[in-house]
C-alpha cells in the first residue's frame, strides 16, 4: 500500500522506498527515525526566505538511505525530534 510519493508498505509490513526498493523500517515505526536527516537554513534557498540570523525554524531534510532521494523537508524548531507524520493502523 502506498503511503507517500516515494514510500509504500509492502506485504511484510515494511516501509520501503518506491524508487530503489530499500527497506527502511517496520510499518509500525516512524520512518524518519531510520533515515538520514540534515539541518538546513532556509536562507540556503533562492527567493525570499528568513535569513540565517532571523530564522526561528529550520528545514530538516530526510533522505532515502540508499538512493538519497529527498523524502521530506520538515519545518521545525531547532533540535526537534522527527515528526511522526504517518502512523498507519496496520
Amino acid at each position: 500500500m502506498r503511503i507517500h510519493y516515494y514510500l509504500e508498505v509492502d506485504k511484510e509490513n515494511k516501509i520501503k522506498c518506491l524508487k530503489c526498493g530499500h527497506v527502511i523500517c517496520n510499518a509500525s515505526e516512524n520512518y524518519k527515525k531510520h533515515v538520514p536527516r540534515s539541518e538546513v537554513s532556509p536562507s540556503k534557498l533562492p527567493g525570499q526566505h528568513p535569513s540565517k540570523d532571523d530564522a526561528i525554524v529550520l528545514y530538516y531534510e530526510y533522505y532515502c538511505p540508499e538512493c538519497l532521494t529527498l523524502l521530506d523537508v520538515e519545518i521545525a524548531e531547532k533540535g526537534s525530534p522527527p515528526l511522526w507524520d504517518i502512523q498507519l493502523k496496520i
Partner: protein, 667 residues
Amino acid sequence: MGEKKFPSWGDDAERDIGGGKISSLNNIKQYEKLNPVEFDILSHRLYSIINEGRQAVMRVSGSPVVAEGGEALFAVYDAYGSTASLACGLLLHVIGTEGFIREILELQWDAPGIFDGDIFMYNEPFIGGIHACDQWTGTPIFHEGELIGWLGALTHTAETGAIEPGGMPPSSRSLLHEGYRVQGIKIMEKGKLNKAALNSVLRSTRDPAYYTLDLRARIAGLNVAKQRIKQLIVRYGVDKIKAVMQQNMDHSEELARAKLRSLSDGTWRAVNYGDWDIGPGPKLWKIMLTATKVRDQLTLDFTGSSEANKGPVNCMIWGTWGSIFVAIASQLFWEIPGNAGMVRPLKLVAPEGSLTNVRFLTPCAMCPPLPGRHISNVVTTIIAKMLYTNKEYWRDINAPWCSMSWMGSFWGGITQHGYVSAGMFGDGWARGTGAGIDEGRGDGCDTGALQMTIESCIPDVEMNELMYPFFYLWRREEMDTAAPGRWRGGASVSLAVVPHNTSSVTIAFRGGGKYAEEGQSLDGAYPPSLGGSGPAAIIRLKNLKKEMAKGEKPDSVEDFENYINAKGGRFRYVNPFEASQRVTENDVILSLNAGGGGVGDPLDREPERVLADVQRCIFSREMAREVFGVIIDSKLQAVDEKATKLQREKIKARRRKRGKVWDGDKK
C-alpha cells in the same frame, strides 16, 4: 450558546415563534425519501436557486471584494439552521453561520418574535462567522404558518469601524477593538426597513456607502432566492422541499462516510508555524494537528497548538471550523455536495484558550489570513497523506497551498472622489495552487486561487484603481514564489501600489514569513517562498509623483534602487504586522505572496521542465542550478546535460555527507 442544549425546548416539542410555528427537531428530521430522479432534480434546483441568490449579491454590491473578488456566501438552511445547500466563494463560513440562526431561535422566538419578511443581521465571531468583517443577513422561510427553513447571505464587508480602517486592525488587542458587532437585530421587520437599526451600523463605520451597498446586495439576494423557493413549493409541494433539504444533508453524510471507509485507518500529524504576534520582535507560534481516522470518522485534534496570541492572530472556534471546512470541502470531499452533512463524520478537538479556540473578547480579526490559513494547510497535508492509501484517489492528491503572504492589505482615507473610505486589497487571492502527483494534475496552477475563496476572481487592477486612491506600478507573477519539487507549486503575485489623488491615506501590513517559513510542501519538495522582490517594504522615492508625470515608471526592485541612487529616497522593510500608517504619493507599497506547495524531490524534475520554468520566469537560474541541479546554457537557451548530471551528483553527494540518522532517543 456555549454548552447549552439546542433547542432549549427539547427535540420533541414544537413552538410558536410569532409568525407561525416551528415543528419539533425530531419531526423535521423525519421525511419521506424522494426517489432518485426527484432528488436529483430538486437538489440541483435548490443549488441553482441559492447560486442565483449569490450572483445577485455580487452584482448589486459595488465593493471590489464582493463584486470582483466574489467574497460572498449564500446558503439555505433547514428550520433549525442546519445548512442544506450552499453556494460560496468563501468556503470558510458555511458551518459558522448556523450559530446565528440558532441564537435567533433561542433569543427571539418569544419577543420580538420571528415573522415572514424579517431580515436579521449578525457579525459576531463568537457566535458564528469568522471575524467582524463577515456580515451575515438571514431571513426565515414560512409556508402556511410554519417555519420551513432559512436563507442566509454573507459578504466580507471591509470596513467595520474598528480602531484602524479596513476591518482587520493589526493593532487590535481585544475583540472590542475590531469594530461594531451586530447581534441579530432585525434590519427589516415584516418586509420593512428598520431605519433605526440600520443607523446603528451606518453611524459606526467610516464607510457607510459600502456598508449600504453590501447590505442591500444581501437583501436583494435573499429576496431573489426566497421568491424562487416559493415558486418551487407551488410546483412540487412543501413536503418535498422540506424533504430535499434533509435528504441533501443525509446524502452528503453517506458519501463522506463511504469515502472515509475507503481509506486506511491511521493517525497523521502536521505542524505549521507563524512568526509574529504583537512585536516588537518575532514570536513563534504553531498549529499542531493530529488527525485520526477510524472507519468512517475523522477526529481532528489541535492539542499542542500554541496558546492564544495577544494580538488578532487567533481563531474563535467557528474560525477553526471554517478553516477546516476550506480543506475538507476542496480536497477530501470536493465531489460531495456542500452542506452540514459533509461535516457530520468529523470530530473537532480544539483546546479552549489555544489559538484554535480563543475565549470571548479575545481579538481574532486576522483569523482567515493567519492561523486559519495554517489550519487549512495542516488539514490539507493530512488529507493528501490519507489519499495515498487508496489508488482511486491519487489524482486528487494536492500539496498545501495556503502559503505566506506579506501585504500592505488594508487602507483607509480620502478617495480620489473626495469621500472617506477604507478597504482591502484582494490581489493576494491570485495564489499559486498546490501541486498534484503524476496520476493527477502535476504542477500547481499559477495564480490559480486562494484556497479559502476557491471560486473567487482576482479583482481587476482597473477596478481597484477606480475605487481606491491608488494606482499600480505592477501586479505580476513573481519569480521563485512556487515551491520547487518534482512537481512544482503554482506561482503567486507580487504588487506595488502608490497612493494617488488623495490628501490623506493610510496603509496597514499583515503577514508572515520574515522569521519562519509558513508554507508547506509534500514528500521532498521545498516550501514555497515570497519570491525575489522581498522583503515587503514601503519605498520612499523622492518626487515620484513629479517624475511620473514626466514619464518615469519604476518597474522592479532594481529600478527602485537605481531611482534612489539617482534622485533620492529610501527603502524601509516592514515587519510582518504594522499598524495603519500615513503614506504619501511618493511612497511605493510593495506586497508579496508565496506560491503553492510542491510534491517530490526537485532532483526528479525533468531538466526540460525546469528549462521551461526558467524561460517563463517561474524560477530563476539560481533556483534551477542550486535546487533542481539543472544547468542552463545561457547562449543556447538549452539544458547542459553533462553539467546537469554532474550538478545533481554533487547535490546527492552533499546529502550523503551531511545526513545523519536521528539519535535523540538514545541520549
